[in-house]
């Protein structure tokens, strides 16, 4: 699994961090997404897919 995030689309609502805190974080100074792990292990895949599906800015792309 490979993840990319689009900072311009991110609206900083933090849904991804609530679901997959080991993969996503938010910048301290504006709440925009930080990708901690672009190729997470299998244990994270379900959470990452969920985060991508619910991201209000459609800012998370996942390719398998």
């Amino acid at each position: 699994m490979k993840i990319t995030v689009d900072e311009d689309k991110c609206c900083g609502a933090g849904s991804c961090v609530l679901i997959a805190p080991e993969v996503f974080d938010q910048r301290e100074d504006d709440g925009i997404v930080i990708l901690l792990d672009a190729e997470p292990g299998a244990g994270q895949h379900a959470a990452v897919r969920e985060a991508a599906a619910v991201c209000p800015g459609a800012a998370i792309e996942v390719s398998e």
Binding site: C11, A13, S15, C16, L18, Q26, R27, G31, V54, P56
Partner: protein, 403 residues
């Protein structure tokens, strides 16, 4: 006459307190860009399909400029004294809005919310103590749902505990245009504004670990921060945006989960379902209020129809959230549903800034209730719950429970 030909009055009334009106499914199926008449008498188009609602909310051509001369008025009295003033002080679109959102957004990170959890649980515990002490049956709305979000916002703004009741009163007056007279509302607004101005002066002199201090620390507009007036109004806007919405949702969430007690039992047996259960109640909230209005200053196409410049569109997120083409078995409540990309918090650049906070509050309330009052049940039949239409969001008048 079928739903396709008539001009529906909007909002569409529902017969049962927790169930959607039958028209939603008909509209999604056969009339996804319906003609509706608003309470003001003005005409608008109602969008009910998931894809369409999501697309409109993410498309900047569909603006929030409801003050445009040819935009539909929502209600006859203009509705919302407060919103129009706020829009003049806090930028509503474009780069200015983005700048504001990023400054305020840094307080709403998921991490910060996680750090607030223990404090939220403490607040919930002490409110439940009071509810228990007063004895069953009690009103979960007045005893827990209504005060909790105000207390949380007060903590966030660095408002001392002894001033919380004043905040509750201000919030109530600003949001209940029907219950209070014009003079009372204006007096409350002036008092609230004065309080916030003083609070900001105090925070400037002695910064704390709170959102207002942080906004002040960013400096003035020249240094990339906000003007004092914008900070004051931001504080007021957060109370208005975050109180009624969350307060009502607590009542509706608990009612939905108790309406079929098997749901409550499932949560007691496996509290790890709390997170997905909260999302599912947000998705299935049939009484989420007016929906989101948008104004089109240019021609645009949606759902296969071309809408002329000047059209006002109402997005029904609640109808979209029950769209079979987006959610499997959309009408039924599945406490394990995942992913659950519902639109209760909107979508796109304006999607709810406080959604991590709201989610965390709802999760904490539910966790504490399951722990403290496992025998909780509704004290009246579901059909006797009574809806209220709020300014921003619908709710239940009371949520009578026993335990």
């Amino acid at each position: 006459m079928s739903v396709n030909e008539q001009v529906l009055s909007y909002p569409i009334p529902a017969e049962a307190p927790l169930e959607p009106p039958a028209e939603w499914a008909e509209l999604r199926g056969g009339c996804p860009v319906a003609h509706v008449k608003l309470p003001s008498g003005d005409a608008a188009r109602l969008i009910t399909r998931y894809e369409d609602v999501k697309q409109v909310l993410a498309d900047p051509r569909f603006t929030r400029q409801l003050t445009a001369p040819d935009a539909a008025r929502l209600s006859a009295d203009g509705g919302g004294v407060f919103n129009s003033d706020v829009a003049q002080i806090i930028p509503d679109s474009g780069d200015g809005h983005l700048h504001w959102r990023r400054l305020v957004g840094k307080w709403f990170t998921a991490k910060r919310m996680a750090a607030m959890r223990p404090r939220m649980a403490e607040i919930a515990d002490s409110l439940i103590d009071d509810l228990v002490e007063r004895g069953a049956p009690g009103d979960l709305r007045a005893g827990l749902g209504f005060p909790l979000p105000v207390y949380v916002i007060c903590d966030m703004l660095g408002v001392p505990a002894e001033d919380r009741e004043r905040f509750s009163y201000w919030s109530d007056t600003l949001l209940n245009l029907t219950r209070y007279g014009k003079e009372e509302i204006e007096a409350a607004q002036a008092e609230f504004f004065q309080y916030m101005s003083d609070l900001i002066a105090a925070k400037r002199a002695e910064p704390g670990d709170d959102l207002l201090s942080e906004l002040l620390a960013a400096g003035g507009p020249d240094e990339g921060g906000l003007e004092d007036l914008q900070i004051i109004v931001t504080g007021m806007a957060l109370l208005v945006a975050g109180h009624e919405t969350t307060a009502n949702m607590i009542g509706k969430m608990v009612s939905m989960l108790l309406a079929d007690r098997a749901r409550w039992e499932a949560l007691l047996a496996d509290p790890s379902l709390v997170r997905t259960a909260v999302e599912e109640t947000l998705r299935l909230d049939a009484n989420s209020g007016f929906g989101l209005p948008r104004y089109l200053p240019v021609e645009a196409e949606i759902g296969g129809e071309t809408l002329p410049k000047g059209t006002t569109v109402i997005c029904s997120m609640a109808a979209a959230n029950r769209d079979e083409s987006a959610f499997e078995d959309a009408a039924s409540m599945d406490l394990t549903r995942s992913p659950n990309p519902h639109l209760a918090f909107g979508a796109g650049a304006h999607s709810c800034l406080g959604q991590s906070l709201a989610r965390t509050e709802l999760q904490v309330v539910l966790e504490v209730l399951l722990r403290r009052l496992p025998t909780l049940e509704l004290a009246v039949p579901v059909a006797e719950l009574e809806r209220v239409e709020g300014l921003a969001v619908g709710g239940l008048r009371t949520v009578p429970v026993r335990w």
